[in-house]
Symmetry: C2
Subunit: 73 residues, 2 copies
Amino acid sequence: MDIKEKFGLKVKKLREIKELSIEHLANISDVDRNYISDIEKGKRNVSIIIIEKIIHALDTDLATFFNDKSFKK
Amino acid sequence: MDIKEKFGLKVKKLREIKELSIEHLANISDVDRNYISDIEKGKRNVSIIIIEKIIHALDTDLATFFNDKSFKK
């Protein structure tokens, strides 16, 4: 699995744990809903600004988000 | 400090700890040296693929790289 797919899966997992729809996450992160949908499918090479927007909207931070075995070597 | 600047500072700090020149980091990460120079200055909205290339070239992983107080809320 490449890094785009790993990132997308973690976003989807956290979004579902928080019981947010893609539309709701789009609204609170100020990222387009179609773009979020593509991110979750691993199709987007997201930038660090978008990464931060989504992670903050999921009520976490980069340190916590990436502290996951899927982001370890 | 915005996320582009925080990321750049951490890259520069790790590169210097490892006593790598920008040129050497550019070679092992396969990222252009001028682009790395701009990243370290906080000027680039880097993508997750570039983030991964640089972090792996610095011999670490995303979990470890972002586990830093500057990336916490």
